[in-house]
Amino acid sequence: MIVYLLLVLFAATFLVLIVKRDEIAIIAILFSFFSMCYMFMNPEIMVFGFGGWSPPFGIVWVLDKLNVFLALLVTGISSVIAVYSLKYIKERRHRYYTLLCLITIGLLGVSLTGDIFNLYVFFEILSVSSYALVAFFLNEHAIEGAFKYLMVGSMTSLFILIGIAMLYGLTGTLNFADLASKISHDPPYMVALGLLVAGFSLKATIVPFHAWKPDAIEGTPAPIGAIFTSVSTAIGVYGILRILFIFNLIQINWVLILFGAITMLLGALMALVQVNVKRMLAYSGVSQIGYVIMVIGFGTLLGITSGLYHILNNALIKTLLFMGIGIGIYLTGKENLNEMGMKNTPLLICVGIGLLSLSGIPPLNGFVSKWLIFMASWEISPMLTAIAIIASALTLAYSFKIFSAMFLANRKIEAKVPKILLIPVIILTALCVFIGVFPQAGLNMIEPAVNALLNQNQYITAVFGG
């Protein structure tokens, strides 16, 4: 089943270049989205062994609730972006779709695999296609961003490889479930843990590793910026969560809380002073991931629930904003905040809802997860709640800056927006409002994922018993 999904995606990657029809890529990505919907309905943990080998020896893909939730999010966002890009990208579109298919394979593989070296391979597929997509426009900004991202990205990927080598040398296995049953908390294991977490923090953009992101996003097409700030960071956070899960260390962790709080504040402050709209949204993404890392550091049920909920909401809101503002860039050709005033009612409503949701105004989805985050941090320390509220206020400030620059400026361009650009934005806006009005719908998706994360024994028995 999973093998066919991979085959379809890989085949689409090459067929787009050979046949030169972009629809193939869109159909393949939509197919992966619907098959993930089907997998999501299945209540049990599913184990797929490649090549007929039983779990500890061969490569396995394990689909527990956490995995499938992430894969659903990834393929959903990818398919929205695939439809949107059909109009947005004007030149060399076949190469763009090839890379988009490849990045989807990477994201899907990292989220679904149950083998740590297989995770590294898919992580590299994701990274290499990301570097190529950053350089896609081939202008100075794009080249500079791509080179910076490539250097820091491949260095931290190698940290992951050292961590994997150390774990293999210490335990003699690469399977997640097998590792989880053999790992202890001695110093050498902790060094490997540190290397692996450092490697994934680059994708998640936690503060000492955040510097590549604004530079990279400034050069990319806007929809790829959406992938970087929404699902690519989600995959980074998932990597950290999975490593902590293997080490059975889902508990209060002041290092994560500290770095999360710093990320949150610094990202919001840096976003305030930007003049380029893409850079501003990139820093905003850094800031939102700070909340997630902080609440994951609490290790409580409420903390992890709110963290995963915020990953979902951040992915929806950031994709909506990048695509909405991408329409502005498409129409005006400008990225500077002072030059992109425009007049278009549907776009105003969508981007306005996205910005209100980003800053956590009820009854939108951003409010739900932020409220949960405030409650979770109140349990640990009221000080952290205060920091989170300050960061939230800063978010409102830069959101208003974007809104006023786009829609309240004097110099206005009256422009007609192509429908194919507007429909994905409207779908995401509807989802944001829906989750805000019915928060239980989102919680129903996340609760099984949190239970899967907190129950290590269930995972191990599912892999070896099946």
């Binding site: 070296f117 202008n139 100075e140 490539l150 190698l158 293999y168």
Partner: protein, 116 residues
């Protein structure tokens, strides 16, 4: 065995020094290659066994085989990793070529200064 690990750490530090401190883009890419190869050395060293035999089951004595054979898995991992690093290096050199075409320099400091 300890010499191999010490050597690996030294090579890795050399590679990281190249990647972080050198200003020339090509030298940074070379540093990346050095760092990668040090990790390949680490992986091979993990699978090494003194007086080991090739991991191909020709004798019937499975116990002797399990005692003496070299671990083949790290070598498979290294082969995979080499292929990945090949593609990363190719992409990096492609980007360096484009950077030279646009900026007429390979100096990363001057690249930053151009942006202002």
């Amino acid at each position: 065995m300890i010499e191999v690990y010490v050597g690996m750490v030294l090579i890795a530090l050399t590679g990281m020094y190249c990647m972080v401190w050198k200003k020339n883009m090509i030298k940074k890419v070379i540093g990346l290659g050095i760092f990668t190869n040090s990790i390949h050395l680490l992986l091979i060293a993990i699978g090494f066994r003194t007086n080991g035999i090739p991991p191909i089951l020709t004798q019937v004595n499975a116990d002797y085989f399990a005692m003496q054979a070299v671990d083949p898995l790290p070598q498979a991992l290294v082969l995979t990793s080499i292929v990945i690093q090949l593609s990363v290096t190719a992409l990096a050199l492609g980007i360096v070529t484009l950077a030279y075409r646009h900026l007429k320099t390979l100096d990363t400091e001057r690249m930053n200064r151009l942006r202002g």
